[in-house]
Symmetry: C3
Subunit: 283 residues, 3 copies
């Protein structure tokens, strides 16, 4: 996080090799960079409006799930004015066949669930247009920071393909009157409307988006990896339960958390008025 994310995301830097960090070209349309526990994945194909072709979907999945013992947080960013325009429609003509279409949507759905299932938080950094599966990708991250000029839409119906799967995270994030308006009319909402509706966590001016991202990443990285992992897992698990069952499981989760090494370290450091030293282990 010492170098600015903006600088890292610029083409010049991405083409360099630098001893401070390594950039992995998953493919031409995706850049991955990891440093100090933060992995930054950048959609880097402005020419295709960062279309989510099958190869990009597979690239994203592998970039997100790649094992790393030091990984603590992922930021998903994009180059250009379009965060992502969604599926590559050229892959969805009848000449590709139903089997291929099935592969595209199975991969896409698996990717979206993966964002929720990985043990580290994933933050979408949106500075532009997010439409259709691009909007779905944003809605599937844990946290979303957006600039005021960003817009969000699910206009699939206009090209004959209703945004049925983008609607899945959408209705779980925004009020249904907003979701229905977006899905049935295809009309976009602004970043401020998205904030009001709950689709984004924060709206900050373009010049502040890196500082805001850094603030969140820092807050996450300052905590124990294993505690964040158990917390994220239970959060998504309990939100689909009835409240009484959620509390029954929740009490156990709390007691187990307290008796973890990092749980006791946290409490003892707080009582002792010193900084905690985390093991990041599950013990």
């Amino acid at each position: 996080m010492k170098m600015s994310l903006r600088y890292l995301m610029s083409g010049a830097v991405l083409r360099q090799t630098c001893r401070w960090y390594s950039i992995q070209h998953v493919n031409e349309q995706l850049h991955v960079h990891e440093q100090d526990g933060l992995r930054t994945i950048t959609l880097s194909s402005p020419k295709t409006r960062n279309a989510l072709s099958l190869s990009v979907l597979e690239g994203l999945e592998s970039a997100i799930t790649k094992e790393s013992s030091t990984l603590r947080c992922i930021v998903l960013a994009a180059q250009g004015k379009v965060f992502s325009a969604g599926h590559n429609l050229k892959e969805l003509t009848s000449k590709d066949g139903q089997e291929y279409h099935t592969k595209v949507f199975d991969t896409c759905s698996r990717l979206m669930l993966t964002l929720q299932n990985i043990p580290v938080p994933i933050i979408a950094q949106v500075n532009g247009i997010a439409t259709a599966a691009g909007c779905q990708l944003v809605a599937s991250c844990d946290i979303v920071i957006a600039t005021p000029n960003s817009t969000f839409s699910t206009p699939g119906g206009s090209v004959g393909i209703f945004c049925s799967t983008p609607g899945i995270p959408l209705v779980r994030n925004v009020p249904r009157k907003v979701a229905a308006h977006m899905l049935l009319t295809g009309l976009p909402i602004t970043a401020m409307e998205a904030l009001q509706a709950g689709l984004v966590s924060k709206v900050v001016p373009e010049e502040d988006i890196e500082a805001e991202t850094e603030r969140m990443v820092k807050a996450i990285i300052s905590k124990s990896k294993s505690v964040i992992a158990l917390g994220k897992k239970f959060m998504y698990h309990q939100m689909e339960m009835d409240i009484a069952s959620a509390y029954r499981e929740g009490s156990c989760v709390m007691v187990n958390n307290i008796n973890m090494v990092d749980g006791q370290e946290g409490i003892n450091s707080f009582i002792g008025k010193r900084k905690p030293v985390w093991t990041h282990s599950d013990e």
Copy 2:
């Protein structure tokens, strides 16, 4: 949509016969008009504050479900300063008997579910007060456009009848702190509070409400009828599922959609940079 909705809704026009459109008097308290794929249903009994008597509930149900091969969208509007004051309390005294009361509420509940189950989008155009079952009616439409002076409340408790059924769509549209405040105190919320809470999709000045409605209707009508129908159906279906099951079904829905005639027409017209020509068929 060539004539302004305001003009259509005025008493003068409603009493005319006109070769451009037909108005069906479902009963004295309800006017229905259909033109160019848009059906406009107007609660037109300002004297009774557009009370939802059993006959109005039955009239609404028949007006909404009436078969029409060209129907693409429904707008629900109201004459006068009260969008609807809810049930007609005179029908709920003990002298009518429990069987009659059961009929009133079964009809009402069936109507509310029908709004969700019909294949075309339904937009409530609210310019006034929506209370109790009137608020329920608004909350049960897909999209809601309201003017700033509109208010929303569920004050049934004040007359000894808690708004238990209006609470059903309410808690599914707004945060529970807002729903509980409305239901337990009976106090109204303003249009801006309703927008913030998610009960309405858009708030626009009174002079813009027709233009905004027209914009949404146009966006809906420009799409394939069958694609909108499958999208609306899956949207309400998936929001009651766990997310993994929703994705399992969602991938199938997408693949089927792509292989519909209108799915392929949409994609091919987009790639060919031409306007799509929809069949509106389920094939």
Copy 3:
């Protein structure tokens, strides 16, 4: 409600004996006062930042569930600048043992569900910082009124104990992007952000909070106790059902409500243009 809540909550008054009302010292950290149907429970240990130790949790449970035939509404307030800082971490070190920790969290979870299960509405009056289980306590009340300088956070991860149980009411009140941001980063949100997200029902200036509370309490107390009780119960019950099942039960609830003595009294008083006289009975 004739004496101002601020006056009642001041230490001077709390130490008096007064023929107008009685104050029950549940323990040193909790004051309970009941008058004219309103029970006010005040967290009154600013020195401990109103920590929710096991004894305070038990005290709250007994203060909330104490039988009273005249009880109509509960207000939960706090002395000092911290509404509540959550669990007492000193009770969570390994020397207390897992059995003790289990008792703390079982008591806490039971208390939170009790707030939802009691037949009278409970209003949190927040003028300060609500963190961790303190934020959970706020999120578990039916209605929340907050001052603009209040803040809300779930920073447990910073001390190694993820706010897993505070997350249970949190994700049921605010959009998941807001919940995830609060839970994963631990960063606070302001009262206005909490209003936008749905965690609070109303934000009012500090000088107006008693008037606003009084307005809500008055609205609740003006209704029939038994009607409010059935309404609150069904509201929480139906929100965990699918919508079709909710309507099936809802119609029955409405018909039963209409045929209660207070249901008919409400309707007849409305038709007769007179004030209702409630029996508050379940008949």
